[in-house]
Amino acid sequence: MKMRYLRNTVSLSIDRESCIGCEMCIAVCPHDVFLMEAKKVTIIDRDACMECGACARNCPVDAIRVESGTGGVIPVLEEMMKKGKAD
């Protein structure tokens, strides 16, 4: 069974204009979020994205944007405390 986290929360986006169709994002995505459509990649399962950032890091033309990080309570609390200190 494919598990998905919260609806419409993920920060993933693609610039279809710059996509060269190398399919690297498809090869590295652990949750089958992308699909080739007319020689360019498209997002077909956004809610399945866990924001690991593998696609963005391996895109040779920098066409993918995702705010990646570790999806756990402790890293999120640490990050919030750091932000709180900075303010």
């Binding site: 069974m1 494919k2 598990m3 998905r4 986290y5 919260l6 609806r7 929360t9 993920v10 920060s11 690297m24 498809i26 090869a27 590295v28 995505c29 652990p30 949750h31 089958d32 399945a48 994205c49 866990m50 924001e51 690991c52 950032g53 593998a54 890091r57 391996n58 040779p60 705010e67 990646s68 990080g69 570790t70 999806g71 756990g72 309570v73 402790i74 890293p75 999120v76 609390l77 919030m80």
Partner: protein, 347 residues
């Protein structure tokens, strides 16, 4: 490389143009299995590393493929036990004893580390080809095109799971959908539970001592039987969050982990109310304690899953923490006060 030669899981040492390379065994021994079992309980987990560098499997030569991995012993064991039929080189990166996926997230399994390790091992003098096979889950720390530009080595991302490697090579290094997809089956969830419990142990001990101390103060005698009875709702709530939620994960029909914990908590609270039939105030306090505790512990399990995004966890923490923490504290206080009042009525 001589430091690795004496390790029990190294079979022999092979002379190569770049020096001696340890050849590792592909069968785990009792010692490996025992140590791996203890690591799952959190014992020696922080120091379970192997020396980084070059290793071999079988009798590799200049045309054998190169597989890149992390220097966590649990990872190396998971890899080598699947490679009995695969002759290859292993390039073990220094990820400070962390597994591939987490190390990629922490950027120790990285482009920089690969470039440095290639230089240190002089791999280019050992193999004729220019291809590195990386575990797919290393991709969040590595930019394949930058490795290629810097070193001349082409990066191919292999399957997610080590057990698919033989099929991957057999299939001319092509992956199907199954090989590149991460799932989170019951078996994978179960191995995580012992560590969740070990981490929760401190909270459980603190909770029990608090209950025992409260009973002692209220009744004037230290009775562990009564204390344990009063402790059961909290113990149950922790187990609901740490065990039941991971086990039932895909079956609980909501996506939010805080809500998953809440649903399991409601079932547990109903059971406890039925078994204990407490007074109204005590019953409400116990229910709120169970719901907030199981919800919090369920939320903490997001850190161990394979599919929760940081944006999602941020959203849950922002919504759930300001509600759950005050409720938890209030339920403990009300529970104590209701006991005090009940005692006052009796005397």
């Amino acid at each position: 490389m001589t430091s690795a030669a004496g390790l029990p899981w190294v079979q022999r040492v092979k002379e190569t143009p770049v020096g001696e390379v340890p050849i590792v065994r592909t069968r785990l021994e009792l010692r490996d299995r025992l140590q791996n079992f203890l690591v799952r309980l959190g014992i020696n987990r922080e120091r379970y590393a192997v020396p980084p560098g070059l290793y071999g499997i079988g009798d590799p030569d200049a045309d054998s493929p190169v597989l890149v991995t992390s220097n966590y012993k649990l990872t190396l064991d998971a890899l080598r036990k699947e490679l009995a039929a695969v002759t290859c080189w292993l390039l073990v990166l220094d990820t400070h004893g962390i597994n591939v996926w987490c190390a990629a997230g922490k950027r120790t399994f990285s482009t920089t580390e690969i470039v440095g390790r290639l230089e240190a091992t002089r791999l280019e003098a050992l193999v004729r080809h220019r291809t590195l096979v990386l575990p797919q889950l290393g991709a969040s720390g590595v930019a394949a095109h930058l490795v290629h530009k810097t070193t001349g080595f082409r990066v191919v991302y292999g399957p997610v799971r080590a057990r698919d490697i033989p099929a991957f090579f057999h299939n001319k290094m092509k992956k199907d959908r199954d090989m590149r997809t991460v799932r989170f089956p019951l078996r994978d969830r179960l191995v995580l539970i012992p560590l969740e419990l070990v981490l929760a142990l401190l909270v459980l001990v603190a909770g029990f001592l608090l209950v025992a101390a409260a009973d002692w103060i209220l009744h004037g005698i230290l009775d562990f039987g009564t204390a344990f009875r009063d402790f059961v709702p909290f113990l149950g709530a922790v187990l609901a969050g740490c065990v039941l939620v991971p086990v039932l994960l895909p079956l609980i029909p909501v996506r939010s982990f805080a809500l998953k914990g809440l649903i399991v908590g409601i079932l547990l609270a109903a059971l406890i109310e039925w078994a204990y039939s407490p007074s109204l105030v005590d019953g409400i306090a116990t229910t709120v304690l169970i719901l907030s505790t199981s919800s919090l512990f369920a939320l903490f399990f997001t850190g161990s899953t394979t599919f929760t995004s940081v944006s999602g966890v941020r959203r849950e923490v922002r919504i759930a923490f300001p509600v759950l923490i005050p409720l938890l504290v209030a339920s403990i206080l009300v529970g104590l006060i209701s006991k005090l009042v009940a005692l006052h009525h009796i005397s």
